[in-house]
């Protein structure tokens, strides 16, 4: 245990303090917003697809909340470009933990996966697979 934190490693704090791709895209292919009611975290993800309609080209996020949720969103905006929507949909909690590079304690997993969930739901709405207004993270994600 360094300065006393397992979960708040340098990388996470760096992304929290200096979020990458923060803001809105000018003309996203789709946008979606979600919240984690128990924490009050909110995230909006803007996604722009390549011409193939399948490959993610650019991602931006905006929102508010704890370091875990915001850092996770920031990292995701770097990670997603180049992957396809179906690869996005296959991402699970382990992929997020790996991306974050730290063990997330069970009660904070909701924060960590919010951004991914928002992106996935946004993609599904875009594909016409589901119809929801807002995403919220579920316990048993």
């Amino acid at each position: 245990m360094g300065i006393g934190s397992d979960m708040y490693r340098q990388q996470i704090l760096d992304h929290y303090k200096n979020p990458r791709n923060h803001g809105r895209l000018d003309s996203p292919t789709f946008s979606h917003t979600g919240e984690n009611p128990s924490c009050g975290d909110t995230i909006t993800m803007d996604v722009q697809l390549a011409d193939d309609g399948e490959t993610i080209e650019r991602v931006a996020f905006s929102g508010d909340g704890c370091a875990i949720s915001q850092a996770s969103a920031s990292m995701l905006t770097q990670r997603l470009p180049g992957t396809t929507l179906s690869e996005l949909n296959e991402m699970d909690t382990d992929d997020i933990t790996e991306m974050l590079g730290v063990d997330i304690s069970p009660m904070r997993v909701k924060c960590a996966v919010l951004a991914r969930q928002v992106a996935q739901d946004g993609a599904k709405i875009h594909d016409g697979e589901i119809e929801i207004e807002q995403t919220k993270t579920e316990d048993d994600d």
């Binding site: 245990m1 934190s5 397992d6 708040y8 704890c66 069970p106 904070r108």
Partner: protein, 426 residues
């Protein structure tokens, strides 16, 4: 952690009654009960959420299950007699603890404070409230009271009014006077705010309610555990509290009601033990308090509740209160040293044993996680007072809350933990 100083209660002796305080934390949490990988000593400051349970209370539960477990009421056999006597006596014990001179007839056991509130809202409110009536709450009500009356009022078309809080988190009593009027049928107020620590003038509010012919329901979830309470001095019509916040088991709480009121109130849950005669067409009801306890009640928990009250009374509720006040003031003072901390609620010398605050630039959930990594258990969130948090302009806050086994050293551990958060988030 040994108590090196002198406190209003014998902290050292008390701590030895709570085996959980000896444990370490910090390891893998996915296998509850296995602590081998836990290495950080526990500093438990989440007592407003739930208190710990001393050996004496746990032993009373074990003694029940292994000694005289049985269903109660009406059972003629030996075990049922023993269980019935213990369970029924527990009602008297609870009544005595809060100064209810009517004894068991004025105390129905519920699952928790929340169920007590819902019982009155459904059994009285749904039947007695009408569209011209108002229910007066405060802006600092816990969801147990706020959401319950809000939703019951919606069902019957009654109005809900909220008494404002001032800058210090105290009730604006002038506003209370305006709101409580002839339309008012119920005033439901929290005795001690679980977020602000404010101690409300419930006796004055009772007078105001009674002046207009309304009832007053006092939410005692945070007061009954922490100081002497006398429902008759308050002149509360209803009073509710939970066992798990006062050294008792989970799954048990109490609804106090003045006998005449309970007598006239319709029953709520239907089933065994609450009936007198049943035909295929209709039913009549048992005497108080059983009319309000349908089905097999939480027997072991009621008995454990009484054991918790015995435990607290041995310490003395005046001493519990003094200890709470001492730690609240100490925590308030220590946290006030820092400019980057915002504390909610009244000053340190006039509050219940809890302090809610925020540290600039660190989300409450992050702060709680970081403190947790130091072994310090505090609560972060809205503490079931979302509208109050909206009003305070904070999505969440961090709350440290104290009980009889806490020490100033533990407050210091909290304050030191903040430094680590500051460094990380600098």
């Amino acid at each position: 952690m040994e108590a090196k100083e002198s406190y209003p209660v014998n902290v050292g002796a008390i701590r030895s009654d709570f085996p959980i305080l000896e444990r370490n934390v910090g390891g893998d949490t996915s296998t509850p009960g296995e602590h081998d990988d836990d290495t950080t000593p526990l500093v438990y400051l989440d007592n407003a959420a739930t208190s710990h349970t001393p050996k004496q209370v746990v032993d009373s539960i074990v003694e029940y299950y292994h000694g005289y477990n049985s269903n109660v009421h009406r059972g003629i056999h030996h075990l049922s007699q023993e269980a019935s006597i213990a369970y029924e006596d527990a009602h008297d014990r609870v009544a005595e603890f809060i100064g209810a001179s009517g004894g068991r007839e004025e105390v129905a056991f519920t699952k928790n404070t929340t169920e007590a509130m819902n019982t009155v809202a459904y059994a009285w409110g749904l039947n007695e409230l009408s569209p011209d009536d108002s229910v007066v709450l405060t802006e600092m009500e816990h969801h147990a009271s706020l959401v319950t009356w809000q939703q019951i009022a919606k069902k019957v078309g009654a109005e809900v009014r909220y008494i404002r809080i001032d800058e210090d988190g105290r009730l604006d009593m002038e506003h209370a006077k305006e709101l409580i009027d002839d339309s008012t049928k119920m005033v439901s107020v929290v005795h001690i705010s679980n977020t602000l620590g404010t101690i409300n003038p419930v006796s004055d509010l009772a007078d105001m309610a009674h002046d207009v012919g309304a009832y007053i329901f006092v939410d005692g979830a945070q007061s009954a555990p922490t100081r002497p309470v006398d429902v008759e001095t308050i002149d509360a019509d209803f009073f509710a509290f939970s066992g798990h916040k006062m050294c008792g088991p989970t799954g048990i709480g109490a609804l106090y009601g003045k006998r005449d009121i309970l007598d006239e109130m319709q029953p709520y849950h239907y089933g065994g033990s609450m009936i007198r005669r049943v035909t295929f067409d209709d039913a009549t009801w048992e005497d108080l308090p059983w009319k309000f306890e349908a089905g097999t009640p939480p027997i072991a928990q009621g008995i454990g509740f009484a054991a918790a009250i015995d435990y607290l009374d041995d310490i003395g509720m005046e001493n519990v209160q003094a200890h709470e006040e001492l730690l609240a003031e100490y925590a308030y003072d220590r946290l006030s040293e820092f400019d980057d901390i915002e504390i909610y609620g009244p000053p340190g010398d006039d509050r219940g044993g809890l302090v809610s605050f925020n540290l600039d630039g660190v989300h409450a959930h992050d702060l709680s996680s970081i403190l947790n990594e130091q072994g310090v258990a505090i609560r972060a969130g809205d503490h079931c007072t979302q509208p109050l948090h909206d009003k305070l302009g904070a999505a969440a806050s961090t709350r440290a809350s104290f009980y009889i086994y806490n020490t100033k050293d533990e407050v210091d551990a909290l304050v030191e933990g903040l430094d680590i958060a500051r460094e990380l988030f600098a």
